[in-house]
């Protein structure tokens, strides 16, 4: 199987279905350079000797995939979906209240007092023992109370409206995605499509996405600012997140919870595509992705950045820094959750230490399908 070829193709598709068309060559170059930079920065030396031919192909693929990144949306202030734009609105509301009613009064009155009642201003009134005046006291308490009540109302409203567990209202069924946090990459599984990806999180624009998250390692936090909330992913546990992109485009995705040396490289691109584009992409990946088997999973679960992962695979499989998998099943995600809980999950290859206590051989065996849920 001509892996590289497949990948080029997949990338091309990914790209084509992006209707975002403003890609200036300069920006392409920029993006390309950064991808490259990324690849060269990783600490492990295993990855350095990328054969030249492959490298150039990698460039092509990277260009194709990342080319129109001209505008990778970084922030919820530049929202790409309903959740982020509601959050922006909430932010603006709260900020406005605070600036107008808290900051401006203090900032305006303080200098006035300081000037009027400076030591040199002998003519201003001086009342050395004046230490109580009821109305002023009451106002000092009442002002903040009113502000807090105001804010509390919007907090109550929006916290419930934007609970990340709450499915988004839509006439379309949500796309199911299962996310597993590995050290230092996210694996996105599309159980209904039978595919998975690392480095790219593709989603159809206009359709809600229902995510379940867990971690195969330490605590992590999935965050795509331009689309919506962040949420922790933890071993043995499942958290949920609902997002939606309104229009095609790419957004920055990252991990916000420090988890070791590769932390800052645990980024990905959320690529919103047209619905048809998404379907075509999915079927492309299904037919040409790497088969997601035991062995590959094992490599993924090592502590590695994407570049290191690429090098660790028996042959490098990712010309563009991303990975696409076929044969992903719905069973994988629960298996990881259970494994972490029951005690069979491998800690990173570097580490495993026997628990100090060996008196309980029974403890080494995986727990029976854990009905005792970890709280």
């Amino acid at each position: 199987m001509n892996t590289i070829g497949h990948f080029q193709y997949v990338c091309m598709k990914t790209n084509r279905f992006l209707s975002n068309a403003d890609c200036s060559p300069l920006k392409k170059m920029q993006r390309l350079m950064h991808t490259e930079h990324n690849n060269l920065r990783k600490p492990s030396s295993r990855v350095e000797p990328v054969p030249a031919r492959r490298a150039s192909l990698a460039c092509v693929a990277a260009l194709l995939l990342a080319g129109c990144s001209g505008d990778t949306h970084l922030s919820f202030l530049d929202p790409q979906g309903p959740v982020a734009s509601a959050q922006r609105w909430h932010f603006v509301e709260a900020l406005a209240v605070l600036v107008v009613f808290v900051a401006i009064p203090v900032f305006a009155i303080t200098p006035w007092i300081l000037w009027r009642y400076r030591y040199g201003a002998k003519s201003s009134r001086y009342t050395p023992n004046w230490n109580f005046y009821g109305p002023l006291e009451i106002a000092s308490w009442a002002g903040p109370v009113v502000i807090v009540v105001l804010l509390a109302i919007i907090v109550w409203r929006d916290t419930h409206a934007l609970d990340p567990y709450k499915p988004l209202a839509s006439d379309q069924p949500a796309l199911r995605v299962q996310v597993i946090g590995y050290d230092w990459k996210w694996l996105f599984i599309y159980p209904d499509q039978g595919i998975a990806s690392i480095g790219v999180f593709a989603l159809p624009a206009g359709r809600p996405v229902a995510m379940q998250l867990t971690s195969a390692t330490v605590m992590q936090s999935l965050h795509i600012p331009a689309l919506g909330s962040q949420i922790y992913a933890m071993g043995g546990m499942v958290t949920q997140l609902h997002l939606q992109a309104d229009r095609p485009g790419r957004s920055l995705g990252e991990n916000n919870m420090y988890n070791g040396n590769g932390f800052h490289q645990q980024r990905f691109t959320a690529v919103a595509m047209t619905p048809e584009g998404f379907d075509a992409w999915a079927s492309e990946v299904r037919s040409s992705g790497i088969a997601l088997n035991e062995q590959i999973l094992k490599v993924i679960s090592q502590r590695s950045t994407r570049a290191e992962l690429n090098a660790a695979l028996s042959q490098p499989r990712s010309p563009d820094g991303n990975f696409y998998f076929s044969g992903a099943t719905a069973a994988l995600f629960p298996a990881v959750v259970m494994a972490t809980m029951g005690g069979t999950m491998v800690a990173p290859a570097k580490a495993p230490q026997e628990p100090a206590n060996t008196a309980a051989p029974a403890a080494r065996k995986p727990a029976a399908p854990a009905t005792e849920k970890v709280q």
Binding site: G343, A356, A359, A360, A363, A367, A370, E372, V374, Q375
Partner: protein, 207 residues
């Protein structure tokens, strides 16, 4: 109307002790504050336990491990020791002489040590059933909470021995009195913690 209401509440030396009684004021209050800090410590360990009861990870749970009879005996021992310490406090306060004071303290110590013995026996039998702390989150939490109390009792016992030693050396002087008052508070406080333990851990675990 008695002087306790006038001086600090809680355990008291009484005005017959003059300057010692005054000296106790700050000391005893300080010790109360420490106890309250300790209470928060225990409460956090309790919270860990309560929220980890289900986390047996396929290992043994309360029903397989707890032995109600043993716990009952431990409870009685501790209760009795609280009473005997009370008697020691009275002997101190009403000046019944060093011999009686030391006598009651000794009884208290014996009861405390017996309690520890039973507790250790409990732990040993749990271990023999494979219920070691590293077996599960639940057992970790158990072996945090109950032995923490046991450690406190151990510390109290050592303190008690030291105080008896000080009595032997210096007689019942100010520092011994202050020490005994604080130890009394400590001992009764541990009793209260034990009430929470037998209720929340053992009895609730066995229902």
């Amino acid at each position: 109307m008695n002087y306790e209401a006038i001086k600090h509440p809680g355990l008291n030396l009484g005005s017959a002790h003059g300057r010692d009684h005054d000296a106790a004021e700050g000391m005893v209050f300080g010790f109360w504050v420490f106890l309250m800090s300790d209470a928060i410590l225990f409460s956090m360990v309790f919270a860990t336990y309560v929220t980890s009861v289900g986390a047996t990870a396929g290992g043994p749970g309360p029903h397989e491990l707890y032995d109600i009879k043993s716990v009952f005996i431990e409870t009685l021992l501790l209760l009795a020791s609280s009473f005997t310490f009370g008697m020691a406090s009275l002997a101190l306060k009403y000046k019944h002489g060093t011999a009686r004071l030391i006598g009651w303290l000794a009884v208290t110590l014996v009861l405390g040590v017996a309690f520890l013995g039973f507790e250790l026996h409990d732990f040993a039998s749990m271990f023999s059933k494979g219920a070691v702390p590293s077996r599960s989150g639940f057992l970790s939490a158990f072996f945090d909470l109950v032995p923490l109390h046991g450690l406190h009792v151990t510390g109290g016992s050592i303190w008690l021995i030291c105080l008896v030693g000080q009595i032997a050396m210096y007689g019942v002087d100010t520092q011994v009195k202050l020490g005994l008052m604080r130890l009394a508070l400590f001992w009764h406080f541990l009793d209260i913690v034990w009430i929470a333990i037998f209720s929340v851990v053992y009895l609730a675990g066995l229902t």
